[in-house]
């Protein structure tokens, strides 16, 4: 046996800060990332009740510029990018040419003819190749700025209150999906009132060379450092799909409840998305046993799907899961989930499991 050669894990600009904070580091999508610091439950609770900060610098940023930027984005995404105004952000999908999603993304409009696209860390190379392959015929330029930016997610009901004394803009005037320049602790940053936890909060785009200083200052004003573990339990409670679990190159994206992301317009892969999905994404509640990705989901003993994400919900105090089931069973109320050869009862629970 020989070991498969692997690429060395990439490090965010905050790597040293994580080690200083005593983080447990794990490989994630090719990156060496903090999974937890003080403990997953404590970090989760800090974001639900106070405010936490996540290092999401591993995510990718592409700048899309040129007179054809809008037309190009319209052709490679499902949502209507023409609805965006400068200083606003929009959740969107990159559909594939054979069904499924290349990625789910956020698009931030800077000004006419200039947009910033944020993509999932594990999809950076794939997205870049896909987008580059579809620029023909458009007056557009793509720039990979993934190494330029540190990205910090400040999330929780106290996020605005804690940040306000340290920024030069009135945060109360900035609604959800606002995207704006600010000085934070004197550093030039871009802030976006977006996030992935089900709570209010801001994503901070900061120059990579200044990311560590800003991170340390954020901890200094009372933000709890939170890792990928808490990020996953928070997003799951909020019912947010995660690429690689609820979305993939082969999962029909309309299996999720996000049909609003697809608008009636010409775009890559439209013929596949217009077909009705064979499976639907549902929420499940269990009494005691946590269920994990891949576990079979049954109705009356017959397998009708599988779990895509599962955890024990720190906020609700019982296990929750998302599962893809055959469309005909999506409205059933009771299921069983097979755990290590034994079936355990589960009931359907509307998404999101938790609404902040």
């Amino acid at each position: 046996m020989t070991d498969t050669p692997t690429e060395p894990l990439k490090r965010t600009p905050l790597h040293a800060a994580h080690l200083r904070a005593g983080a447990r580091m794990v490989p994630f999508g090719g990156w060496d990332m903090p999974v937890q610091y003080s403990g997953l439950k404590a970090e989760h609770e800090a974001v639900r009740k106070g405010a936490g900060v996540f290092d999401v610098s591993h995510m990718g940023e592409f700048r899309v510029t040129g007179p054809g930027a809008l037309a190009f984005l319209q052709s490679v995404t499902t949502n209507d990018v023409s609805k965006l105004k400068p200083g606003r952000a929009q959740y969107n999908w990159l559909p594939g040419v054979q069904g499924g999603l290349v990625d789910d993304i956020y698009i931030y409009m800077v000004r006419d003819g200039e947009y910033l696209m944020v993509v999932n860390a594990s999809n950076i190379a794939k997205d870049w190749a896909h987008l580059s392959a579809h620029t023909a015929g458009f007056e557009v330029q793509l720039t990979d700025e993934s190494d330029r930016w540190g990205l910090l997610a400040v999330q929780g009901p106290k996020a605005a209150e804690l940040l306000q004394p340290h920024v030069d803009v009135d945060l109360s005037a900035k609604k959800k999906n606002a995207y704006f320049a600010a000085k934070l602790f004197g550093f030039d940053v871009m802030l976006a009132r977006t996030g992935y936890t089900g709570e209010d909060g801001f994503e901070v785009f900061v120059d990579a060379s200044e990311a560590e200083t800003v991170w340390d200052k954020l901890l200094g004003i009372g933000l709890t450092p939170a890792g990928l573990g808490a990020r996953d339990t928070l997003r799951l409670e909020a019912g947010f799909p995660l690429y690689g679990h609820e979305f993939s190159d082969t999962i029909h994206p309309l299996s999720s409840t996000y049909s609003w992301v697809v608008k009636d317009k010409a775009h890559v892969g439209r013929e596949h998305i217009s077909l009705a999905p064979a499976h639907k994404l549902i929420g499940l509640k269990l009494e005691r046993v946590p269920v994990r990705e891949g576990y079979p989901v049954k109705v009356a003993g017959q397998v009708v799907g599988h779990v895509t994400s599962g955890t024990s919900s720190p906020t609700l105090g019982h296990p929750i899961a998302m599962a893809l089931v055959e469309a005909a069973y999506a409205t059933a109320e009771t299921f069983e989930v097979e755990v290590r050869g034994k079936d355990h009862p589960a009931t359907r629970m509307d998404l999101p499991f938790y609404k902040g």
Partner: protein, 120 residues
Amino acid sequence: MTNTPSDLKYAASHEWLSADGTVGITDFAQEQLGDVVYVELPEVGRVVEAGETIAVVESVKTASDIYAPASGTVVAVNDALTGSPELVNSAPYEGGWLFKLDVTGEGDLMDAEAYASANG
């Protein structure tokens, strides 16, 4: 620093075995796992070989197999873990024990010093 009592024997897979056949997971293991939310225990009367998967400890994030540190028969399980799985975190060597074996043969076990230095 994690706690490694000197009167116990330890498996490389992080289970401890006491002289009376009681089995649990180590302080080091519970800390690595994080908050334990569910424990699946074996049935009393089950006969196991050392090294066999015998129980499962689930934290918020993951399910981890527990291996029998000795061969023998399961003679008791810790029912307190059904309602309070967090005992595995708070008292890994006392209230958080998993099951008891009528030991017929030990697996490849370490003393406290060897285990502690392997997981320093």
